[in-house]
C-alpha cells in the first residue's frame, strides 16, 4: 500500500533529484517567525484567527506557525487541514492521497483564515482550496502564507506572506519543508 501511494502521490511520475539547497533549517525557522509576526500584525492580534494547512506539504508548516504565533501572541489558535484533491481542475493529472485527511474542527464564520502551503507555483492548488473552503462556511477573510513562491502563476493569485521568493525554471522542482528548501529536477521514470 505504501509503495502504491507513493507512486500515486508523485504528481509528475518521476524521481526528485536535489541540486542545491537554497534555505537551511535555520533559514526556514527565521522566515516562519517573520511570517508569524506579519500575520499577527496584519490581523491586529490573534483573535478569531485560524490556520489551515494544505495537504500534505502545508500541514507541518501550519503547525509550526501555530506554535510560533501562540508563543508570540500567548494564545491558542485553531489549526485545520485541507485536502483539495476533489476540487482540482486537473483531477485526471493529479491523484488523491487517500490518507490526506480534511479536518476543520471549527466554524469558519467570522474567522480570518490563513491558508498555509509549502510552495506556491501555478496557483491551482490555492484556487481549489478557496473553492473547497467555501463549502465549509463563510470566512471573514482568507489569506495565504507560503514558505516559497517560485513564480509561474497561471491564475490571478498572490500570497500575503512569503518566506522566500525563489525564481525557478518551469522544469525545476522545489522541495520545501521545515528541514530546508532544496531546488532540483525530476528525472522521468518510476521510482
Amino acid at each position: 500500500m505504501a509503495e502504491r501511494e507513493r507512486r500515486l502521490a508523485t504528481p509528475r511520475g518521476g524521481v526528485f533529484v536535489p541540486r542545491s539547497q537554497v534555505m537551511s533549517a535555520d533559514d526556514v525557522d527565521r522566515a516562519l517567525v517573520r511570517i508569524a509576526h506579519e500575520i499577527i500584525e496584519h490581523n491586529k492580534g490573534s483573535d478569531n484567527l485560524a490556520l489551515i494547512g494544505l495537504q500534505t506539504g502545508g500541514v507541518q508548516i501550519a503547525l509550526k506557525l501555530r506554535d510560533v504565533i501562540s508563543e508570540i501572541g500567548d494564545a491558542e489558535i485553531p489549526v485545520g487541514t485541507l485536502d483539495v484533491a476533489f476540487y482540482r481542475d486537473d483531477i485526471q493529472l493529479r491523484p488523491v492521497l487517500p490518507e490526506a485527511v480534511t479536518t476543520i474542527p471549527f466554524d469558519l464564520t467570522n474567522m480570518a483564515v490563513v491558508l498555509v502551503d509549502d510552495v506556491l507555483f501555478t496557483g491551482r492548488t490555492v484556487r481549489a482550496a478557496l473553492q473547497a473552503l467555501s463549502d465549509f462556511g463563510r470566512a471573514r477573510s482568507i489569506q495565504l502564507a507560503v514558505l516559497v513562491d517560485r513564480g509561474h502563476r497561471e491564475l490571478p493569485i498572490r500570497p500575503d506572506y512569503v518566506g522566500k521568493n525563489l525564481p525557478t525554471r518551469l522544469t525545476e522542482q522545489v522541495d520545501a519543508n521545515l528541514e530546508g528548501v532544496t531546488i532540483g529536477d525530476v528525472i522521468k521514470g518510476r521510482p
Binding site: 500500500m1 505504501a2 502504491r4 500515486l8 508523485t10 504528481p11 509528475r12 511520475g13 485536502d83 484533491a85 476533489f86 476540487y87 482540482r88 486537473d90 483531477i91 485526471q92 493529472l93 493529479r94 491523484p95 488523491v96 487517500p98 490518507e99 485527511v101 480534511t102 479536518t103 473553492q131 473547497a132 467555501s134 463549502d135 465549509f136 462556511g137
Partner: protein, 325 residues
Amino acid sequence: MSLLQNALVSIGDLDNDDIGHIMKLSAIFSEVLRRDIPKVPTLRGKTMAMVFSEDSTRTRTSFEIAAKKLSMDILSLNSSQSSMKKGESLKDTLANLHAIGADGFVIRHSSSGVPTQASTWMTVPVINAGDGCHEHPTQALLDCYTLIERFDTPSNHTTDNAILNCFNGMTVTIVGDVEHSRVARSLVIMLDMLGAKTTLCGPRTLMPRHVDKWPVRVSYHLDEVLPETQVCYILRLQNERGSGTYLPSIREYAMNWGIDSKRASLLPETAVIMHPGPINRGVELAGEIADSSRSLILNQASNGVAVRMAVIYLLLANPGDITEV
C-alpha cells in the same frame, strides 16, 4: 488493479489492496458527506448513464446521489420500458448511450452477466449495480465498510491494509436464498479474500448445486450455527425470482430460517444483524430484530453513498493514470 482500469463487475476483479484502498477512500468521502455543503466538484462535466432494467429504489438512488455528490450529470435509462425490451441488441443500446455522451455506466440488469458483457463492449467504465443472480459488488463493499465501522480498532493500524484486519477469522453466517442471491455471491468471494469464515445456511433447495466447491461451510440447521456467529447476514427471500416454488410454504421457511427474537438470542452478545434490503418483515427477519441496536441495516444503507462515490471516483477520475502535467 483492474478497478482503476475499466470496470467493477465482480468483487473478484479486486485484490485486497484495492479493497483497502476503496475503504480508505470511502472514509474520506464520508467526511465530505458530513460537510455543510456535502458535494465536491471533482467529476463536473462528466455524465453517468444509469441503465436499470429492474426496479431498484435504494441502489439506484444511492448511485445517483453518489454521482451527484461528485457533481456528475445523470443520464437515466429505465430499460424495462425502453428499446431493450423490444429486442434491440444490448450492445447497440449501450453504444448509443455512449454516443449521446455517457462517460461511464452503472448497470442493473435482471440477466446475469450483462455488466460483464458491457465491459467487453465498452471502452468507458462499467459498474455492476447488481446483475441477475450473479453479483452485486458495491453491496459487498458497503457491507465491508459497515463492518469495519463496527469492528475495526483504528489504533492498531500499523501495517498496510490493517483496516481489513478485523475480518481475519470473523465468523459470518449468510442465511436464506443463496441460490438467487447476487449479494451472497459477492459477499462469499470478498469474505474469503479477507480471511473471514463464512457459513451458508438455508433450505437445500435454495443452495446452489455446486456450493460444495465454494469457499464456505454449509449448514441446514440455523440454530446450530448461530451461537458461533459474529455477523448474521440475512438475505431477502426473493419471491419475484420464484423462490416460493422452492419451498413448501413461506410459513415453513419463516419457522425454520427466519430470525425472530428467540433465534436472535442464540447469537453472541456482540453479534450484529445485517440485511441488504428490502426486508420482508416477519418472513426472514422479525421487525423488532431489524430495528434493534444490534442491527446494522440502516448503517448499510447510509454507507452506500460514500462507498459508491469511492468506486465512481476511482473508475472515472483515473487517479492511477498519471501522465504528463
